[in-house]
Point group: C2
Chain length 169, copies 2
DNA sequence: ACCTGAACACCGTTCAAGT
DNA sequence: ACCTGAACACCGTTCAAGT
Protein backbone atom coordinates (compact mmCIF):
# COMPACT_ATOMS: atom_id res chain seq x y z
CA UNK A 1 0.00 0.00 0.00
CA UNK A 2 3.04 2.31 0.29
CA UNK A 3 2.09 4.92 2.85
CA UNK A 4 3.82 8.11 3.95
CA UNK A 5 3.95 9.51 7.45
CA UNK A 6 1.32 12.10 6.56
CA UNK A 7 -1.02 9.24 5.62
CA UNK A 8 -0.48 7.68 9.04
CA UNK A 9 -1.21 10.96 10.81
CA UNK A 10 -4.36 11.50 8.72
CA UNK A 11 -5.60 7.99 9.41
CA UNK A 12 -4.91 8.43 13.11
CA UNK A 13 -6.89 11.68 13.20
CA UNK A 14 -9.76 9.99 11.43
CA UNK A 15 -9.80 7.13 13.95
CA UNK A 16 -9.54 9.66 16.79
CA UNK A 17 -12.50 11.68 15.55
CA UNK A 18 -14.61 8.60 14.86
CA UNK A 19 -13.86 6.54 17.97
CA UNK A 20 -12.14 8.76 20.56
CA UNK A 21 -8.69 8.69 22.13
CA UNK A 22 -9.38 5.55 24.14
CA UNK A 23 -9.85 3.50 20.99
CA UNK A 24 -7.23 5.27 18.90
CA UNK A 25 -4.75 2.40 19.03
CA UNK A 26 -1.86 1.58 16.76
CA UNK A 27 -3.74 -1.50 15.64
CA UNK A 28 -6.87 0.46 14.71
CA UNK A 29 -4.91 3.10 12.84
CA UNK A 30 -3.11 0.35 10.94
CA UNK A 31 -6.43 -1.30 10.09
CA UNK A 32 -7.70 2.04 8.78
CA UNK A 33 -4.76 1.97 6.34
CA UNK A 34 -5.23 -1.72 5.52
CA UNK A 35 -1.88 -2.62 7.01
CA UNK A 36 -0.36 -4.50 9.97
CA UNK A 37 0.33 -2.56 13.18
CA UNK A 38 4.03 -3.22 12.88
CA UNK A 39 4.09 -1.36 9.57
CA UNK A 40 3.38 1.93 11.35
CA UNK A 41 6.79 1.78 13.01
CA UNK A 42 8.34 2.40 9.66
CA UNK A 43 6.84 5.90 9.66
CA UNK A 44 6.80 6.81 13.33
CA UNK A 45 9.10 5.71 16.18
CA UNK A 46 6.31 5.19 18.71
CA UNK A 47 2.74 6.10 19.64
CA UNK A 48 3.74 9.15 21.65
CA UNK A 49 5.39 10.70 18.60
CA UNK A 50 2.34 9.93 16.48
CA UNK A 51 0.17 11.75 19.04
CA UNK A 52 2.53 14.74 18.91
CA UNK A 53 2.17 14.90 15.12
CA UNK A 54 -1.60 14.70 15.49
CA UNK A 55 -1.49 17.56 17.99
CA UNK A 56 0.52 19.71 15.58
CA UNK A 57 -2.02 19.05 12.86
CA UNK A 58 -5.01 19.88 15.08
CA UNK A 59 -3.52 23.22 16.01
CA UNK A 60 -2.02 24.12 12.62
CA UNK A 61 -4.33 26.90 11.50
CA UNK A 62 -4.76 28.70 14.83
CA UNK A 63 -4.25 32.45 14.56
CA UNK A 64 -5.72 35.79 15.60
CA UNK A 65 -4.98 39.50 15.91
CA UNK A 66 -5.92 39.94 19.56
CA UNK A 67 -5.53 37.72 22.63
CA UNK A 68 -9.29 37.08 22.73
CA UNK A 69 -9.50 36.11 19.05
CA UNK A 70 -6.39 33.94 19.29
CA UNK A 71 -7.80 32.12 22.34
CA UNK A 72 -11.15 31.56 20.62
CA UNK A 73 -9.39 30.26 17.53
CA UNK A 74 -7.38 27.82 19.65
CA UNK A 75 -10.48 26.69 21.47
CA UNK A 76 -12.31 26.11 18.19
CA UNK A 77 -9.42 24.04 16.83
CA UNK A 78 -9.32 21.87 19.97
CA UNK A 79 -13.08 21.29 19.88
CA UNK A 80 -13.15 20.49 16.15
CA UNK A 81 -11.80 16.97 16.69
CA UNK A 82 -13.09 14.46 19.23
CA UNK A 83 -10.81 14.49 22.31
CA UNK A 84 -8.72 17.15 20.55
CA UNK A 85 -8.11 19.12 23.75
CA UNK A 86 -6.77 16.10 25.59
CA UNK A 87 -4.53 15.06 22.71
CA UNK A 88 -2.95 18.49 22.31
CA UNK A 89 -2.71 19.13 26.05
CA UNK A 90 -0.97 15.90 26.97
CA UNK A 91 1.06 15.48 23.79
CA UNK A 92 2.70 18.85 24.26
CA UNK A 93 2.33 19.21 28.03
CA UNK A 94 1.01 22.74 27.58
CA UNK A 95 4.11 23.77 25.68
CA UNK A 96 2.07 23.57 22.48
CA UNK A 97 3.30 21.78 19.40
CA UNK A 98 2.48 25.13 17.87
CA UNK A 99 4.35 27.08 20.52
CA UNK A 100 3.92 29.83 17.93
CA UNK A 101 0.65 30.40 19.72
CA UNK A 102 2.30 30.88 23.11
CA UNK A 103 4.92 33.18 21.61
CA UNK A 104 2.26 35.28 19.85
CA UNK A 105 0.26 35.55 23.06
CA UNK A 106 3.35 36.41 25.08
CA UNK A 107 4.09 39.35 22.75
CA UNK A 108 0.65 40.73 23.49
CA UNK A 109 0.15 40.04 27.22
CA UNK A 110 3.51 38.93 28.59
CA UNK A 111 4.74 35.49 29.57
CA UNK A 112 2.65 34.99 32.69
CA UNK A 113 -0.45 36.24 30.92
CA UNK A 114 0.12 33.92 27.96
CA UNK A 115 0.61 30.95 30.24
CA UNK A 116 -2.48 31.74 32.30
CA UNK A 117 -4.62 32.17 29.19
CA UNK A 118 -3.33 28.95 27.64
CA UNK A 119 -3.93 26.90 30.78
CA UNK A 120 -7.45 28.28 30.91
CA UNK A 121 -8.21 27.53 27.24
CA UNK A 122 -6.95 23.96 27.49
CA UNK A 123 -8.72 23.28 30.74
CA UNK A 124 -12.00 24.73 29.57
CA UNK A 125 -11.87 22.92 26.23
CA UNK A 126 -11.07 19.61 27.91
CA UNK A 127 -13.88 20.02 30.44
CA UNK A 128 -16.28 21.01 27.67
CA UNK A 129 -15.47 17.97 25.58
CA UNK A 130 -15.85 15.64 28.57
CA UNK A 131 -19.19 17.19 29.46
CA UNK A 132 -20.57 17.22 25.92
CA UNK A 133 -19.70 13.54 25.66
CA UNK A 134 -21.41 12.77 28.99
CA UNK A 135 -24.37 14.77 27.76
CA UNK A 136 -24.48 12.85 24.48
CA UNK A 137 -24.44 9.60 26.45
CA UNK A 138 -27.63 10.74 28.18
CA UNK A 139 -26.88 10.52 31.88
CA UNK A 140 -26.20 13.96 33.31
CA UNK A 141 -27.47 15.46 36.57
CA UNK A 142 -29.63 18.57 36.74
CA UNK A 143 -32.25 19.92 34.37
CA UNK A 144 -31.94 19.30 30.62
CA UNK A 145 -29.99 21.90 28.66
CA UNK A 146 -31.31 23.28 25.38
CA UNK A 147 -27.97 24.20 23.85
CA UNK A 148 -25.07 22.80 25.91
CA UNK A 149 -22.44 23.74 23.30
CA UNK A 150 -23.65 27.33 23.24
CA UNK A 151 -23.72 27.51 27.03
CA UNK A 152 -20.16 26.19 27.15
CA UNK A 153 -19.06 28.84 24.66
CA UNK A 154 -20.65 31.57 26.76
CA UNK A 155 -19.03 30.21 29.91
CA UNK A 156 -15.72 30.24 28.08
CA UNK A 157 -16.10 33.87 27.09
CA UNK A 158 -16.97 34.91 30.64
CA UNK A 159 -13.87 33.23 32.09
CA UNK A 160 -11.76 34.68 29.30
CA UNK A 161 -13.09 38.15 30.12
CA UNK A 162 -12.09 37.68 33.78
CA UNK A 163 -8.50 36.85 32.89
CA UNK A 164 -8.22 39.62 30.28
CA UNK A 165 -9.58 42.09 32.85
CA UNK A 166 -6.86 40.93 35.23
CA UNK A 167 -4.35 41.66 32.48
CA UNK A 168 -5.72 45.18 32.11
CA UNK A 169 -7.46 44.55 28.79
CA UNK B 1 -5.96 -11.62 53.20
CA UNK B 2 -9.43 -10.10 53.80
CA UNK B 3 -9.16 -6.57 52.52
CA UNK B 4 -11.62 -3.67 52.62
CA UNK B 5 -12.23 -1.08 49.95
CA UNK B 6 -10.19 1.45 51.90
CA UNK B 7 -7.24 -0.97 51.76
CA UNK B 8 -7.57 -1.14 47.99
CA UNK B 9 -7.66 2.65 47.67
CA UNK B 10 -4.61 3.01 49.95
CA UNK B 11 -2.67 0.41 48.00
CA UNK B 12 -3.60 2.10 44.73
CA UNK B 13 -2.38 5.47 46.00
CA UNK B 14 0.86 3.89 47.12
CA UNK B 15 1.42 2.34 43.68
CA UNK B 16 0.50 5.65 42.04
CA UNK B 17 2.98 7.62 44.10
CA UNK B 18 5.74 5.08 43.64
CA UNK B 19 5.33 4.26 39.95
CA UNK B 20 3.05 6.86 38.33
CA UNK B 21 -0.36 6.67 36.72
CA UNK B 22 0.92 4.78 33.68
CA UNK B 23 1.97 1.83 35.80
CA UNK B 24 -0.88 2.02 38.30
CA UNK B 25 -2.67 -1.04 36.94
CA UNK B 26 -5.21 -3.29 38.59
CA UNK B 27 -2.64 -6.07 38.51
CA UNK B 28 0.01 -3.98 40.27
CA UNK B 29 -2.41 -2.79 42.92
CA UNK B 30 -3.46 -6.37 43.50
CA UNK B 31 0.18 -7.45 43.80
CA UNK B 32 0.72 -4.69 46.37
CA UNK B 33 -2.00 -6.34 48.44
CA UNK B 34 -0.68 -9.86 47.78
CA UNK B 35 -3.81 -10.82 45.94
CA UNK B 36 -5.02 -11.71 42.42
CA UNK B 37 -6.25 -8.87 40.18
CA UNK B 38 -9.70 -10.41 40.02
CA UNK B 39 -10.02 -10.04 43.80
CA UNK B 40 -10.15 -6.24 43.45
CA UNK B 41 -13.50 -6.48 41.70
CA UNK B 42 -14.99 -7.58 44.95
CA UNK B 43 -14.30 -4.11 46.38
CA UNK B 44 -14.64 -1.85 43.38
CA UNK B 45 -16.76 -2.23 40.22
CA UNK B 46 -14.04 -1.10 37.80
CA UNK B 47 -10.80 0.85 37.47
CA UNK B 48 -12.54 4.14 36.75
CA UNK B 49 -14.36 3.99 40.07
CA UNK B 50 -11.13 3.15 41.87
CA UNK B 51 -9.53 6.24 40.33
CA UNK B 52 -12.48 8.35 41.49
CA UNK B 53 -12.01 7.10 45.07
CA UNK B 54 -8.30 7.90 44.82
CA UNK B 55 -9.14 11.41 43.62
CA UNK B 56 -11.48 11.97 46.58
CA UNK B 57 -8.73 10.87 48.94
CA UNK B 58 -6.11 13.12 47.36
CA UNK B 59 -8.33 16.15 47.73
CA UNK B 60 -9.86 15.31 51.11
CA UNK B 61 -8.17 17.87 53.34
CA UNK B 62 -8.27 20.86 51.01
CA UNK B 63 -9.55 24.01 52.68
CA UNK B 64 -8.91 27.74 53.11
CA UNK B 65 -10.45 31.01 54.22
CA UNK B 66 -9.79 33.04 51.07
CA UNK B 67 -9.81 32.15 47.36
CA UNK B 68 -6.02 32.45 47.20
CA UNK B 69 -5.44 30.18 50.21
CA UNK B 70 -8.00 27.66 49.01
CA UNK B 71 -6.37 27.52 45.57
CA UNK B 72 -2.92 27.08 47.08
CA UNK B 73 -4.21 24.34 49.35
CA UNK B 74 -5.73 22.54 46.36
CA UNK B 75 -2.53 22.91 44.39
CA UNK B 76 -0.48 21.52 47.26
CA UNK B 77 -2.79 18.50 47.57
CA UNK B 78 -2.54 17.75 43.84
CA UNK B 79 1.25 18.02 43.88
CA UNK B 80 1.66 15.88 47.00
CA UNK B 81 1.08 12.64 45.07
CA UNK B 82 2.79 11.68 41.83
CA UNK B 83 0.42 12.40 38.90
CA UNK B 84 -2.13 13.62 41.43
CA UNK B 85 -3.30 16.51 39.24
CA UNK B 86 -4.01 14.22 36.31
CA UNK B 87 -5.83 11.69 38.45
CA UNK B 88 -8.11 14.25 40.08
CA UNK B 89 -8.66 16.22 36.88
CA UNK B 90 -9.67 13.29 34.68
CA UNK B 91 -11.41 11.27 37.36
CA UNK B 92 -13.77 14.10 38.17
CA UNK B 93 -13.62 15.99 34.86
CA UNK B 94 -13.11 19.26 36.70
CA UNK B 95 -16.30 18.74 38.69
CA UNK B 96 -14.12 17.75 41.66
CA UNK B 97 -14.79 14.69 43.73
CA UNK B 98 -14.71 17.27 46.49
CA UNK B 99 -17.06 19.65 44.71
CA UNK B 100 -17.10 21.20 48.15
CA UNK B 101 -14.12 23.12 46.90
CA UNK B 102 -15.97 24.50 43.89
CA UNK B 103 -18.95 25.43 46.05
CA UNK B 104 -16.75 27.17 48.62
CA UNK B 105 -14.99 29.12 45.87
CA UNK B 106 -18.28 30.00 44.20
CA UNK B 107 -19.53 31.56 47.45
CA UNK B 108 -16.51 33.84 47.46
CA UNK B 109 -16.03 34.78 43.79
CA UNK B 110 -19.15 33.58 41.94
CA UNK B 111 -19.63 30.59 39.65
CA UNK B 112 -17.63 31.85 36.68
CA UNK B 113 -14.80 32.94 38.93
CA UNK B 114 -14.73 29.61 40.74
CA UNK B 115 -14.64 27.70 37.47
CA UNK B 116 -11.90 29.89 36.02
CA UNK B 117 -9.77 29.52 39.13
CA UNK B 118 -10.26 25.76 39.25
CA UNK B 119 -9.36 25.27 35.60
CA UNK B 120 -6.25 27.33 36.18
CA UNK B 121 -5.17 25.41 39.29
CA UNK B 122 -5.62 22.03 37.63
CA UNK B 123 -3.90 23.08 34.43
CA UNK B 124 -0.97 24.63 36.24
CA UNK B 125 -0.55 21.69 38.60
CA UNK B 126 -0.68 19.20 35.75
CA UNK B 127 1.86 21.15 33.70
CA UNK B 128 4.10 21.50 36.75
CA UNK B 129 4.06 17.78 37.44
CA UNK B 130 4.84 16.94 33.82
CA UNK B 131 7.71 19.40 33.77
CA UNK B 132 9.21 18.36 37.09
CA UNK B 133 9.17 14.77 35.85
CA UNK B 134 10.86 15.74 32.60
CA UNK B 135 13.36 17.69 34.65
CA UNK B 136 14.02 14.72 36.92
CA UNK B 137 14.62 12.57 33.83
CA UNK B 138 17.39 14.95 32.85
CA UNK B 139 16.59 16.04 29.32
CA UNK B 140 15.11 19.52 29.31
CA UNK B 141 15.87 22.43 26.98
CA UNK B 142 17.30 25.74 28.14
CA UNK B 143 19.67 26.56 30.98
CA UNK B 144 19.65 24.47 34.15
CA UNK B 145 17.26 25.63 36.87
CA UNK B 146 18.36 25.91 40.46
CA UNK B 147 14.98 25.41 42.07
CA UNK B 148 12.38 24.33 39.48
CA UNK B 149 9.71 23.58 42.10
CA UNK B 150 10.11 27.02 43.60
CA UNK B 151 9.97 28.68 40.19
CA UNK B 152 6.79 26.77 39.41
CA UNK B 153 5.23 27.93 42.67
CA UNK B 154 6.09 31.55 41.87
CA UNK B 155 4.67 31.20 38.37
CA UNK B 156 1.53 29.80 39.92
CA UNK B 157 1.14 32.76 42.25
CA UNK B 158 1.62 35.25 39.41
CA UNK B 159 -1.12 33.61 37.29
CA UNK B 160 -3.35 33.37 40.33
CA UNK B 161 -2.85 37.10 40.98
CA UNK B 162 -3.89 37.89 37.39
CA UNK B 163 -7.17 36.00 37.72
CA UNK B 164 -7.93 37.40 41.18
CA UNK B 165 -7.26 40.91 39.84
CA UNK B 166 -9.76 40.20 37.07
CA UNK B 167 -12.23 39.26 39.76
CA UNK B 168 -11.67 42.57 41.54
CA UNK B 169 -9.71 41.09 44.44
C1' DA C 1 -17.71 -12.52 52.13
C1' DC C 2 -13.46 -12.80 49.94
C1' DC C 3 -10.33 -14.93 46.99
C1' DT C 4 -8.04 -18.09 43.16
C1' DG C 5 -7.11 -19.65 38.48
C1' DA C 6 -8.03 -19.62 34.04
C1' DA C 7 -9.72 -17.48 30.30
C1' DC C 8 -11.14 -13.62 26.76
C1' DA C 9 -10.26 -9.92 23.96
C1' DC C 10 -7.31 -6.73 23.72
C1' DC C 11 -2.61 -3.48 24.06
C1' DG C 12 2.50 -1.31 22.27
C1' DT C 13 6.60 -2.82 20.43
C1' DT C 14 10.32 -5.79 18.24
C1' DC C 15 12.27 -8.42 14.70
C1' DA C 16 13.34 -11.74 11.24
C1' DA C 17 11.78 -12.41 6.82
C1' DG C 18 9.70 -11.23 2.50
C1' DT C 19 9.07 -7.93 -2.04
C1' DA D 1 11.78 1.35 1.25
C1' DC D 2 7.77 -0.69 2.99
C1' DC D 3 5.32 -4.43 4.75
C1' DT D 4 3.99 -9.25 6.96
C1' DG D 5 3.65 -12.67 10.63
C1' DA D 6 4.77 -14.16 14.76
C1' DA D 7 6.10 -13.32 19.11
C1' DC D 8 6.78 -10.92 23.93
C1' DA D 9 5.22 -8.90 27.89
C1' DC D 10 1.64 -6.80 29.20
C1' DC D 11 -3.66 -4.83 29.91
C1' DG D 12 -9.04 -4.71 32.18
C1' DT D 13 -12.59 -7.69 33.10
C1' DT D 14 -15.47 -12.03 33.77
C1' DC D 15 -16.61 -16.19 35.97
C1' DA D 16 -16.75 -20.74 37.81
C1' DA D 17 -14.90 -22.69 41.72
C1' DG D 18 -12.95 -22.84 46.25
C1' DT D 19 -12.87 -21.52 51.73
Amino acid sequence: MRNRRSDVVSAALQVLDAHGLEHCTMRRVAAELGVQASALYHHVPDKQTLLAHMADEIVRDVRGESPAILCRSLRAALLAVRDGAEVVATASAFRLGASDVEARLAEMVGGDGARTLLLYVFGQAQATQTQLQAYALGALPGPARRDPAGEAAQGFDRGLAIILAGLGR
